[in-house]
Symmetry: C2
Subunit: 108 residues, 2 copies
DNA sequence: ACAAAAGATAAGCACATGCTTATGATTCGT
DNA sequence: ACGAATCATAAGCATGTGCTTATCTTTTGT
């Protein structure tokens, strides 16, 4: 999958408020579909569909344990988003820019 | 406008491929509606509507000069997006997280 | 083996969205 | 003053999207 396609899926996945809320919830810790359904005021299928979109975007992973399926944030899932934003870092702040340069030095 | 509303508008604005392409084009330099319409294979009203969405999200500014309206990237427009991403930087790599703390020390 | 639990998938529906064409509002050139 | 140029807005339409209920699959407990 090229970069543009990855950006598309990630931006699309995070554009929906419910989906972003689920992702933010997962960022605070692993959770099963049952648990997520309890927190948000939408049906279980709706949660599963959102999770499928997040997974397709590479933002989350799933792990089956018996009847339950636990979802968790994929560590480097947001990398395409980071890279896209970093491409326009010239418009942010000098501090982030310095962070970038420092990272490059440490990579060497 | 609270942070959540700003995130919503920005993610929504950048979720559409055409709109993101227009934004990326503006990132390479200021442009008028006429010029953008020439580059992208959509009608002028479509371009204007996309620009309105980008402007509503705080991502671009506009400047009128005679009959032409020039759009350009708003310097800190992506800050809400940066902040949102930074909030989950713990999932990128531990290295980045440590560097962030190091940078904070250096700021003092 | 059977029923319940947990989740994924299918079908359908109300609504949002991105595009078009048509038109309105300003501004420039002559 | 008048027509052309530039852009914004309105109206309409085809498609996409998020939600629901219903159902299927898999697994657990008894």
């Amino acid at each position: 999958m090229n970069a543009a396609a990855a950006e598309n899926k990630i931006f699309h996945a995070l554009a929906d408020p419910s989906r972003r809320a689920i992702f933010e919830s997962l960022a605070r810790g692993e959770a099963a579909v049952k648990g997520l359904t309890a927190r948000f005021d939408i049906s279980q299928p709706a949660v599963s569909q959102h999770l499928a979109a997040l997974k397709d975007a590479g933002l989350v992973n799933s792990r089956r344990e018996g009847r339950c399926v636990y979802y968790r944030v994929k560590p480097r899932g947001m990398k395409p988003l980071i890279d896209w934003v970093a491409h326009y870092r010239v418009f942010w702040s000098d501090r982030v820019d310095r962070l970038e340069r420092l990272l490059e030095k440490m990579d060497q």
